[in-house]
């Protein structure tokens, strides 16, 4: 024992369990996903629709609690091709991570894009949510398996600039 190597490092495992609460606005959104609907929220009529909603309109800090359904189609406002592995991420590498401005929403929504060659991914591309099978729908963003191209003509960048 005496001539064993000195201890230079120790491993201290930490495992903490939390009972996470989603909050009111996010609950509306998540319950919508289980019904194949994308529900955003706004602070009042004429105000921008936030998806996913976090409870407030960040520009005004007014409560954004009015539920508004948006479409499951949208436009890629920006993207990245992910080629680096990361813990907690389940997609096969490489994959396209896209920020989608859903039709009817005022802020972009991050998800993955599939059924599209990586070299074709571009800003302005029209996409649609691919939902999981009805019996797999849950109160989770994973109810949307991925986004895929619709084949519609691209939206010119100038129209999107505000949202990048």
């Amino acid at each position: 024992m005496a001539d064993a190597e000195p201890i230079k490092a120790i491993v201290t495992p930490v495992r903490l369990e939390y009972d996470f609460t989603a909050g009111k606005a996010a609950t509306l959104f998540l319950r919508g996903l289980a019904r194949k609907k994308i529900i955003g929220a706004r602070s009042g009529p004429g105000q921008p629709v936030l998806v996913p909603p976090r409870g407030a309109d960040p520009r005004t800090s007014e409560l954004a609690a009015e539920a508004v359904e948006v479409k499951d189609t949208g436009t890629v406002v920006t993207y990245s091709i992910i080629r680096v592995p990361s813990e907690n991420i389940k997609f096969e590498l490489p994959y396209a991570c896209v920020n989608v401005l859903l039709d009817g929403a005022a802020i972009g929504f991050f998800h993955v894009l599939q059924n599209c060659p990586l070299e074709d991914v571009r800003i302005g591309m029209r996409v649609r949510a691919k939902w999981v099978a009805d019996d797999k729908l849950t109160t989770s963003v994973s109810s949307i398996e991925y986004f895929e191209p619709t084949g519609e003509p691209d939206v010119p960048y100038e129209k999107l600039r505000e949202n990048t």
Partner: protein
């Protein structure tokens, strides 16, 4: 030093809160801003306090910006500490002359995690955390040493709990409250000896918000100005075996710097999560037996971690503002066994 006055204070405390931090903060910020008489955009500086580990999510304070009026961009800072230290940073900022007013907020959710285990991560990560001592046991070790040194009894501790719970009845924001009998409490089993349930804090979820300003603005506010007459904070060494756990030298130094003893203290609001800690802090602050402590019920009845220190200062402010006393001391604590303390002396005009 420039005179700095408190313009308003608002709080939200609940045993368990299902809203997210944005949803909790938003109405409390609105209430405090409205009561300050200032428009949100006219408040020069913003500073917040919170801890990522309570929720188990890094950067919780980043999302909180949605609910606190951060557009157009604000001069803002965040301490990974109780909001009382955010108040300190804001007070310093006003002292520099760069700003005239500040919004301070803090939030904490103790309910999502197993707090006893979460707080073990605050101990020595090499030699102590892996034994997973829960916070109540660590406080119990301190309590036993204190009772032995001071000659106080478990009955003295129970009476602190009885008094705090009774006082909390008048505080609509208090989470635990009611009429209890010391003898009956003492017949209950120990939780972590020598502490029983009544000696340990009732943890809560919530937020606190305060608005402060320099003298000219504070005087225009209309209601009785309440001034921050002294504010200071200090820290003791971390190792539990190294310090005298029966005393809080950091609180003592801070009390001296904040000039607690310069004049008569009418009452105190002390962030003492455990009954015996109130007695340790009473000594450190040099408070006589006649000084009323924690008319709000204190952190024993409502401990919204990372928010309850600022909450005590806010409670003291509200009491003075409403005319119930002229000079008060408030204390916020952090770390195990009162390791770090902030002392704030408030005075009504």
């Amino acid at each position: 030093m420039r005179d700095v006055g408190i313009l308003s204070f608002a709080q939200s405390n609940a045993k368990s809160e299902l809203r997210n931090e944005v949803e909790i903060l938003l109405p409390v910020v609105k209430e405090a801003v409205k009561a300050s008489g200032l428009a949100r955009n006219d408040i020069d500086f913003t500073c917040s306090g919170s801890s990522d580990f309570l929720q188990g999510q890094p950067f919780a304070f980043v999302m909180a910006l949605d609910g606190v009026g951060a557009w157009p961009p604000i001069k803002e800072s965040h301490v990974e500490m109780d909001g009382a230290w955010a108040l300190y940073e804001s007070w310093v900022k006003i002292q520099t002359g760069e700003v005239e007013s500040a919004l301070i907020y803090s939030f904490g959710k103790t309910s999502p995690g197993d707090l006893a285990e979460v707080l073990a991560l605050q101990l020595d990560p090499y030699c102590v955390t892996q034994l997973w001592p829960d916070a109540d046991s660590v406080a119990g070790i301190q309590a036993r040493l204190f009772l032995e040194r001071s000659g106080r009894s478990e009955r003295d501790l129970a009476e602190i709990a009885v008094r705090s719970l009774a006082d909390a009845k008048d505080n609509p924001h208090a989470v635990a409250k009611g009429d209890f009998d010391a003898a009956k409490l003492l017949s209950e089993p120990y939780r972590t000896s020598p502490l029983r349930d009544h000696d340990c804090p009732t943890n809560a979820d919530g937020a606190t918000v305060m608005v402060i300003a320099s003298a000219d603005i504070a005087r225009k506010h209309g209601q009785r100005p309440v001034w921050i007459r002294g504010i200071d904070h200090r820290i003791d060494p971390p190792a539990l075996g190294v310090r005298d756990l029966t005393r809080a030298p950091s609180a003592e130094i801070a009390a001296g710097k904040a000039r607690v003893g310069a004049d008569k203290i009418d009452f105190a609001e002390i962030d003492a999560p455990y009954t015996h800690q109130e007695l340790i802090l009473r000594e450190a602050l040099g408070l006589g037996d006649g000084v009323r402590v924690n008319p709000s019920g204190g952190s024993l009845c409502t401990r919204t971690l990372f928010s309850c220190g600022l909450n005590r200062i806010g409670d003291a402010y509200q009491r003075i503002a409403s005319g119930d006393g002229d000079r008060a001391v408030a204390l916020a604590t952090a770390g195990h066994c009162l390791q770090q303390n902030l002392v704030c002396v408030l005075e009504g005009e």
